[in-house]
Each structure stands twice: as C-alpha cells, then as structure tokens.
Symmetry: C2
Subunit: 281 residues, 2 copies
C-alpha cells in the first residue's frame, strides 16, 4: 500500500495504471474510517484491479458555522485499517487541491435545493466540485458511495451523467451499529446516551417503511408517526427534516404510488446525523 | 474523415484512440468555419496523431435576447472545408448533449465577472459547461482556442487548472481579414459598409498598443484615444467596452507596469464584434 500526498504524483500513477489497462476502483472519504467505509473498500477490491482510497476533509463543503475544524481526523489509524485492502491512499493537502486563485465550482441544480441542500447552503456545490476534481485525478472506472448519504449519491450520479463522465457510480448499503444507528465519522461526537437515543432514527424510518408496505399512501401521516417516535428521545436536539421523496428527483411525494425514500436529518447533542430507508413498491 | 453524430459513438472512438496510445488534438467550434478555425485545425494536425473538430452551436451560452436562432450554420460547407484536415468531425444533437433533466453547470468565478461576462450574463457558464462536456467526450491531449476570444481562452485555461484536467490549452493567434477585422462567423451579419468600418477596431487597438509601447502608462488616456478612433465610423452602433486588463486576472489596469491586453466589444450594425491585442512590456 502506497501513500500519495501530491496531486501530480497521483495523476502520474493513475495515468500509468490506465495505460496498463488496469481498472481502478475509487473510494473517496473524509477519513476517520469506520466499517461503512471499509465495506466500500472491500467491494472496490472485489470489482477492480486496483483500489484507490482518498482521505480529504474538504473545506469547501462545510458552511462557516459547521464542524470543519473539529471534524475527527486520525490518519495513522485510517492507514492501519486500509493496510491490505487499498493499493493507494491519496491524502492531498488543502493547498494542493485548492491552489491560489481557485475559482471553479460545479453546480448541480434542482436536486440540491431540497433536504440537506436547503439546510447546508453550498454543501453540494463543494461536494460536486471536489468529487469531480478527485475523479479527474484518480480516473476511476468505478466509484463507491454509501447510501447513508443518499442525496450526495444522487447528486454525484447526476453530475456524472450531465458532464459525460464515464465513471460508474456504485451505491452501497448503509452499515449500521448494533442499535441500528447508521455508521458515521460524526458518531464520535455522541455521548453514550445520545448514541443510544439515536438508534431511534433507523427504527422510526423502518417503522415508516412498514406502514407504507402495509398500505399507507399518505406521506404526511407516515412522517408524523416517524416524528412522534423520534421526538420521544430526550437527547434529540433538533429535527432538520423528515421527508418522503422520489428516489430520482428527490422531490417530496404527497401520495405514495411508487418507490420512495424516507429521509431524516437532525441533531442528537451537537452531532448532525442523517439516515434514510428505501421503500420499493 | 468520419462524421460522428452521437455522444456515445464519439466516446467509444476516443476511448479506443486513447487505448491505442494516440494523441488527440481537439478544436471545438460552433461551425460556419472560416480561416481562423482552419488555422487551429492545421496546428492540431501538426501536433497530434488524431484531430477531432466539433461543430455545436451551444444553446446554453446564448442569452435569451442573443443570436442563437440566427447564428449562421452551413454543415455541408464546413465538412468540405475540413476534408483532408480532420479525422473526426463531431456534430452532436442538442438533445444528446443536454438530455432531459440536465442540471449541472460549471461556474468559473471572478474572471467571468468583467468584460463580456458583464454584458452576457451566463455566457461563460454555458461555455465552461459545454467545453468540459466536450473534453470528457473527446478526451483530447491538446485543445486549440483562438485568442480572438481572449476571455474565453482564459476561462477555459482556469477551469482546466482548477478541475485538474490534463488537457493542454493551446491559444492561437487571431486570423484577420485584409482590413484587419478579426475573422468571426458573426462577420456574415455585416453589410459591406459595416465590414469596412469594422476594420477600425484592430487599427485602433493597434494604435493603443503603439502608444503603450511608446511610453504611455495611463490606461484611461489610451482607452479614450482608441474610443475616439472607433467612434468616427458611422456604422458603429454601440460600444460595450474598451478595456486594458491584466492578462491573467483580466482585472482593469489603471497604470500600466507590465504586460496587458487591450480589448474591445461592440456592435457594428447588428453584429456584436470582439477583438483584442496583447501588449508585452
């Protein structure tokens, strides 16, 4: 396993691999790896000749009031977890990724206006921009994204289609703690009690799913039942949204007639947590 | 010479060429080719194994009041001019380039706010987006742009650097009519008298250059002398701007201390014409 710290070096390696006809599987991360990330890396390992993992806490996807500075980092631990799984770990410097005079951004419109896009202005612009840059540097055949970040996955998928990128975007199942909480680097912010309480998110979303599968067609009613369950937890601080949306457009669905996604975003303590479940109808 | 009309076909061809280790030279155009375009194609021919020319009048770079509908088109003539020069002519359909649900745009900030960017809101967003798409489809090693569109050249150059594209942007000298008028597909809009009058643009910009080379350091004075020359022509309808700017940032220079570019944009009759001269100090 080789650690690459410069954009130019990474590009040279990708170019060489492509010339040799190797397929490249890519897992972009912000580090502080957990089993969710590792499941993506294992899948990339199975499906490609070479696996590249990037670790980069991307400043331009954080709002000024958000947790960029305190976002958890532990490079040594990350590298030991990736040993034997990844071929290359790309850990660029912020100054190398955003050189003096950087002014170019990718805007994916419409599907970024709802949900997290509404609560984190500029977030998906930052995500799309850095992912496009990473794709241009790493040149993957396939890139692996966890479905926990469902809107992010759809934004990247849309960007690739619109910009004629030939990267296959592979969505992967959310990996969960024993109590159902979706794994996230931000779970480290949770106290023991908050962690236990946050288990309700997945339980409530799953309950919503079962209501729909049982015949309920009114989103408002499903959302209100999910909300009631989650609000019972004392360490819940704030709900940003609970929504039932079309899986492709991410627009709100009022009367459920086909597949939908039920999404949650909110705070337990100071940790902003997101999760979702897909409902196939 | 092969004419390719589908994005997928063009991508297959580019991928095959890259696998074969061929270098690709690319000249993106909006068609209605003139000697300016052909000089780019000839240079691409000299410097690459394979030459791809695209012809695509890009709707998203035209404002609602602009000349998208009447922009001159003559595919048959274009193809006969390219015969023996290009290997592939890529002529995609608008619906293939902008599929249903297209929502992704590239914004190059700062250097697009001045000059033509100020007079044509959204223009450079449309240019950057289509050029990025074309680069992803054609996968060129080198792409050729005329310096007549100086701001466009700088925007594309900046975009490539910021997004880590490995396309070499090759700026090429403006090709001119006998009276000095920069060649442009839009010159077809000019009456005989307007065409003759528009010859003053280059003469006036060159006069400005000679003033600076002769020691003049005050941009305001140079601009005013250029403006006086151009305003003498009866078919001049409107000046959008005459500016003296830094070649990299495109910001106005008040006191000339190093290399600058003198730019003009304005209307003769209904034709919006642009031109510029570089001054090396």
């Amino acid at each position: 396993m080789e650690v690459i710290r410069s954009v130019k070096d990474m590009q040279h390696i990708s170019n060489r691999l492509k010339k040799e006809g190797k397929s490249i599987g890519f897992v972009p991360t912000m580090g502080y790896l957990h089993e969710g990330h590792l499941s993506l890396v294992r899948r990339a390992r199975n499906e490609n000749d070479v696996v590249v993992v990037s670790i980069f806490v991307n400043p331009i996807q954080f709002g000024p009031e958000e947790d960029y500075a305190r976002y958890p980092r532990d490079e040594k631990r990350d590298l030991s977890l990736l040993e034997g799984l990844a071929d290359f770990v790309f850990i660029p410097d912020v100054k190398d990724m955003y050189e003096e005079g950087f002014v170019t951004y990718v805007d994916v419109e419409k599907i970024t206006t709802h949900l997290c896009g509404a609560f984190r202005p500029g977030h998906f612009r930052g995500v799309a921009t850095v992912v496009l840059k990473l794709f241009n540097i790493v040149k993957p055949d396939r890139a692996y994204f966890g479905k926990k970040d469902y809107q992010q996955f759809r934004v990247i998928e849309r960007m690739c289609r619109d910009l004629n990128l030939e990267v296959e975007i592979v969505p992967c199942e959310t990996v969960r703690e024993k109590n159902g909480l979706a794994m996230s680097s931000r779970n480290v912010y949770l106290s023991k009690e908050e962690f236990e309480d946050a288990g309700i998110i997945y339980k409530a979303l799953s309950y919503g799913k079962s209501l729909i599968e049982g015949g309920e067609r009114d989103s408002k009613s499903v959302i209100s039942k999910i909300e009631n369950m989650i609000r019972e937890k004392p360490t819940l601080k704030k709900i940003d949204y609970i929504a039932i949306v079309d899986p492709m457009t991410l627009e709100d669905v009022k009367t459920i007639k086909g597949p939908v996604v039920i999404l949650f975003a909110g705070y337990f303590g100071t940790a902003r947590l997101i999760d979702n479940v897909e409902v196939m109808l």
